[in-house]
């Protein structure tokens, strides 16, 4: 995008400032705009999720949830919460390690939001179209745990330390089956590029990778379990465990820093849900290929504006599916009781990991036997250029 503007400005050739200043400014502004758009999408989603969480929790527990702030359904509750948290006193406990205590929420926040740099919202609508996007997302999402560990340790409190220890054990364990589950769509697509993975699922919903073969169907649910555990949501929220550890690693936090931890949690919920959508649920491709039927694609030679309109529709599709994923997470939180730490470990090491490994082998064999997938494809994907990536995918599992 920056290149486009620079070429445009060069073609105008108006001598306002020295050339290099203009170019540097254009790059800076384009970068900031991209970050700003991403941040806006994620922050608005987070605000909606906090409202949804309360409302759904209320409905599941047969009460109303927020009703007063901003109209009938309490729409403005997130705003009221935000103002309340903003104006609270910024406390640092006397025994805490000040630096780590202060810095920990920002680490969690940065890690959970950096993921969105590599996530495509529609065909080509991605801030950085990385070749190894799937791997990058996993790597960065795994860094969020540092916020928890450092915050829990830096608080200088027993509850916080216990919460942080649980979180560390849990996240480190669940990263292994999670990585294996991500590997399967990567292997089928023959690429770690999320745009490519999204594009091979174009067409009817039967082309989505969840319906590729029985193995991917099972893998999707294993991925869901591991994703919920890795973002530390109930029934795997042992790090917070209100009934045992006060609030776990967040015990000593209040006000704005607490809210940053909270935003990081909701941000990573959105991130794992978006990754699931891209990998298994067709990404920005709707159940019925409306844009293709209308001919609003680049391949059909449509007007660029129509192509972008089609992309907008794709982004709406993508966000819809992602929001459904988050809703299911909220639903699970208010329906299932919390697991014990040994049950959490059993779920990971005795169930998720073997199932994921078996599915990896199964999907490989299936791919070998029926290259077209379970249901006959509408349109065979053009993966001829990406074939060698299989080997890279296999390698990441060992790392």
């Amino acid at each position: 995008m920056a290149k486009f503007f620079i070429e445009y400005l060069d073609s105008l050739s108006i001598p306002i400032l020295p050339e290099w200043i203009v170019h540097a400014l254009v790059y800076l502004i384009v970068g900031l705009v991209q970050c700003g758009v991403l941040l806006a999408i994620v922050m608005v989603s987070v605000a909606v999720f906090t409202w949804m969480e309360r409302k759904i929790a209320g409905r599941i527990q047969d009460r109303l949830g927020p009703t007063r702030t901003g109209g009938r359904f309490g729409w403005l509750q997130p705003l009221a919460d935000g103002i309340k948290l903003w104006t609270k006193e910024d406390l640092v406990p006397k025994n805490a390690d000040g630096l780590l205590f202060r810095v920990a929420p920002y680490i969690a926040f940065c890690a959970s939001f950096t993921v969105f740099l590599a996530l495509p919202f529609s065909d080509g609508w991605v801030a950085q179209n990385l070749n190894v996007a799937a791997f990058f997302v996993l790597a960065v999402a795994g860094l969020e745990i540092f916020g928890t560990i450092l915050g829990g340790y830096g608080s200088g409190s027993k509850w916080s330390l216990f919460g942080a220890m649980r979180e560390a054990a849990q996240v480190v364990s669940y990263e292994v089956p999670l990585g294996l589950c991500v590997l399967i769509p990567v292997m089928i697509a023959g690429s770690m590029n999320l745009v490519t993975i999204g594009n091979i699922q174009a067409g009817l919903f039967t082309n989505w990778l969840i319906f590729h073969d029985p193995c991917t169907f099972i893998t999707f649910f294993v991925y869901g379990t591991c994703a919920v555990a890795s973002v530390n949501r109930a029934p795997f929220d042992l790090a917070e465990a209100e009934s045992e550890l006060v609030a776990g690693f967040m015990t000593e936090y209040s006000g704005f820093r607490w809210s940053i931890f909270f935003m990081a949690e909701y941000g990573s919920m959105l991130a794992v849900s978006a990754l699931a959508t891209t990998l298994f649920l067709g990404g920005w491709n709707g159940p019925v290929p409306v844009t293709e039927l209308l001919g609003w694609t680049e391949a059909a030679g449509a007007h660029p504006v129509l192509v972008q309109l089609g992309n907008l529709l794709g982004a709406a599709n993508f966000l819809c599916k992602t929001y459904i994923g988050v809703t299911v997470m909220i639903w699970a939180r208010w329906s299932l009781p919390r697991l014990r730490i040994d049950q959490v470990m059993t779920t990971c090491l005795k169930y998720c990991l073997p199932i994921a490994a078996a599915m990896l082998v199964g999907a490989t064999l299936w791919l070998y036997a029926f290259p077209g997938g379970m249901i006959l494809k509408q349109r065979l994907p053009d993966v001829s250029s990406q074939v060698p990536s299989d080997s890279c995918g296999t390698k990441t599992g060992d790392g």
Partner: protein, 205 residues
């Protein structure tokens, strides 16, 4: 011009961050803070890799060093520490020893870096004179990791021409090294599980 501008800016930024936090690791006494500084330093190195367009290596750096190793390090400290905040005092002798080891490594690295002809300012200037157009630098030029992956399973796609049998040694990719490392890691894992297993109380051995 414009590309080089931001490129050098971010290179300096990440380089300074990596160096500065590495110094902080050495000078700090608190172990967990040292771990934190090490995270930041390694993260900055990952940033340098991304800047160089080597996204695969950058993501590897984040996953293995920042994510994996550092979690284990912090975990180990938290499990073994007696007091709330452990701090270490380095005796003078260790400072001297560390300075000698670190200094000699630095000298060796500097010597290697300077001895590469293409990296010298003079050589770069000469090259720029030879080719009239300045070399174009692409920001965020993405490279495909396919060839690396193929080389790891034994196919060198960057050297497609069939070679003489005598020259074939060492040209067959990195399959052997890859397998040795895998087996080595497996042995380490089994060994660790063996050492950490619960010993049955009152058994004969």
């Amino acid at each position: 011009m414009e590309a080089i501008n931001w490129h050098s800016f971010f290179f300096l930024l990440f380089g300074l961050a990596a160096g500065g936090f590495a110094l902080a690791v050495v000078l700090s006494g608190n172990i967990v803070r040292m771990g934190f500084y090490l995270i930041m330093s390694l993260g900055a190195v990952a940033g340098l890799f991304f800047l160089a367009g080597a996204e695969f290596v950058g993501a590897m750096q984040l996953m293995i060093y920042v994510g994996g190793t550092m979690v284990l390090l912090v975990f180990g400290v938290m499990l073994t520490a007696r007091g709330p905040f452990v701090s270490m005092k380095t005796p003078g002798g260790q400072w001297v020893l560390a300075t000698i080891v670190g200094g000699s490594l630095l000298v060796m690295l500097l010597h290697t870096a300077v001895s590469v002809d293409d990296w010298r300012v003079k050589a770069v200037a000469e090259k720029a004179e030879l080719s009239e157009e300045p070399p174009e630098v692409e920001l965020s030029e993405t490279t495909n990791p396919d060839r690396l992956g193929m080389a790891l399973v034994g196919v060198r796609s960057d050297q497609p021409d069939p070679r003489q049998p005598a020259e074939e040694f060492g040209m067959s990719g990195y399959l052997l090294a890859f397998e040795i490392v895998s087996v080595h890691l497996l042995v380490v894992l089994i060994g660790a599980a063996y050492l950490a297993r619960t010993k049955r109380v009152g058994s004969r051995d």
